[in-house]
Symmetry: C2
Subunit: 408 residues, 2 copies
Amino acid sequence: MPVNLSAPQAQSLFPVRGVKLGAAEAHVRKPNRKDVLVMQLAAGSRVAGVFTQNRFCAAPVTLCKEHLAKGAAIRALLVNTGNANAGTGEEGLQHARQTCDALAGLMVCSPAQILPFSTGVIMEPLPVDRIVAGLPDCIKDLREDNWLRAAEAIMTTDIVAKGTSRRITLAGNTVTITGIAKGSGMIHPNMATMLGYIATDAAVDQQALDSMIQHAVNRSFNCITVDGDTSTNDALVLIATGQSGHAEIGMESADYGLLRDAITEVAIELAQAIVRDGEGATKFMTIRIENGRDEAECRKIAYAIAHSPLIKTAFFASDPNLGRILAAIGYAGVDDLDVNALKLYLGDVLVAEHGGRAASYQEAQGAAVMKAPEITVRVVLDRGAADVTIWTCDFSYDYVKINADYRS
Amino acid sequence: MPVNLSAPQAQSLFPVRGVKLGAAEAHVRKPNRKDVLVMQLAAGSRVAGVFTQNRFCAAPVTLCKEHLAKGAAIRALLVNTGNANAGTGEEGLQHARQTCDALAGLMVCSPAQILPFSTGVIMEPLPVDRIVAGLPDCIKDLREDNWLRAAEAIMTTDIVAKGTSRRITLAGNTVTITGIAKGSGMIHPNMATMLGYIATDAAVDQQALDSMIQHAVNRSFNCITVDGDTSTNDALVLIATGQSGHAEIGMESADYGLLRDAITEVAIELAQAIVRDGEGATKFMTIRIENGRDEAECRKIAYAIAHSPLIKTAFFASDPNLGRILAAIGYAGVDDLDVNALKLYLGDVLVAEHGGRAASYQEAQGAAVMKAPEITVRVVLDRGAADVTIWTCDFSYDYVKINADYRS
């Protein structure tokens, strides 16, 4: 079950002026579930995207990049679940184009003004006809207060729908930021099998929008991992509709930081929600590496800990198995690391220093920390000023069950 | 259960002239199991070792390196299970020295002529007194035909004892090579929680012996992975007692290659046995990457496949989930990889090409391959002449169970 996570209330996801959402049951893979979503954007909206770095990027990702590069004003996003249209070669690209063509026809815009997204099984042909047949129902369903329905429509192995909102005031105008996301396995930096959509009615120029999404993703979706696998389809999109009535925000605007930070908060909450809903997760783990020489070495150590199946299974068992954590620090690839200089904490408890167990440490203290559903592992390297925090979850029987059964 | 692996017969592990082995029940961690082993080497034996690259290397590893660096003739190896004496700081080093001192006293040699090895739980103080108290029983038990008993004495989570022998003829003399190993989890290149001991009665100079162990380890223990974790204690030792009566083999000797290859065969069989006995393993997977630009990129792709929990759970479920394999190839970190140029095979079946499913591929073919307990995944990159083969196993419920329960 998800760790300290429940679905948002519909009324807690505030509408964003200029964004309408509509979902339909198109039977992409299974009947009786919402599996196609259209997000319609008002004229004048600006869009920025960050996509998977997987060499096998999926057809819709290729098309998204192509459409964004063309610079035509994006007027709609089209998302389907059930089929990822990945590992589908040239035919997959044609299929993705056909869905954009169909939606462009209904919305009276050019196909290059549509961004397509797919998630689900890979290497199966996209059922274009069924998706296209579902589009009129999506259009009929378009409403500004449909965010929860949209969050539900993009779920795959997610147990809980994920969404959150913030409201801030910019130059006397109330600005809303609302985001939804999906994802629960294959989560890793560089955007693994996750889709995230964050929209604001703020007015932001393109350069500032690009800068904000990069800032937000580096502190949120690029700081989470469930199993180290990265997918072919991941994407985070940031939309600014410009409907809130204030002057356009650029890189130099006084309100730039305020808006960027609110967007980043939304991104962090969505990213953490994905980990909390990690496949089979029973614990939410925060891995914090402090006082490293640079962020790169902090990340190496953080991910060595976060990806170790031995550590993840020990945490599942609530076992304060310090040795496995020390071993992971040791093989993280920081060649000149002095293991005698570092300190390891579980929660607030100092558990290891001088290359071994701390003299003050009692196993009962570690056991008490491990019992909680939220656990912080902190490694203080004592060799610099760089810090990195990442979030992950444990590895349970259910992880194996979910992933062994996924296609059945 | 181990995949196509059973314990060797005692008579199939041929004695090596100049090596005597003796084991005892010393109650290092649990009663009623052999947990201390002494291997006594005849005068004139040469020894080469390869050790973990983990920065948290255990105290006995530090001491092994120190003793080998001193160049004193090694006369005995001392192995205990139950406790790894790792993450134990300065005290751990003293403990390891105390065990060497005690054995040196019984064998009338210097402590620097002993190599100590420990495996088991980490960050617990080594019970030196109990190990030392067990040494006289080990000495009493010393026999040349004790290899199976020795293989059993070094087991931890292993289900099956691991050992194999070869005999070759060098200049008219029969030469024996016998090896034993332990390990079933945390297995990764650079020697993860595994101990391996290979002995031959051949006469080999030190340079040739060092060269042979490096050749063997690169083609065996450095080509296996169970869960990607590497341990603090791993070691492979190659012993040449020089008792077989032929002229000493150097780098230029005609028989160098013959002996090296026989040693490598033993190392490969032992390394594969560790994977076959991988924690919770139900499938033995061979990952072969062909026609890469260099070995480094082949290894990146091979390990991305071998370490993916999503692929390992799919193989556990006998699910030919090609998409997960393609995704792993895509995120392996080979930045300029042309995914449209590569071919993916399951067994002999071409399953993907041109960036997607092969037109000829039927899922029933993939399902048939996946049902077998031994599965080969082959990726042909079509961009060079480098090949790499590695071996791994699947990820089952039992992997989680074993590692969640290990300390209980």
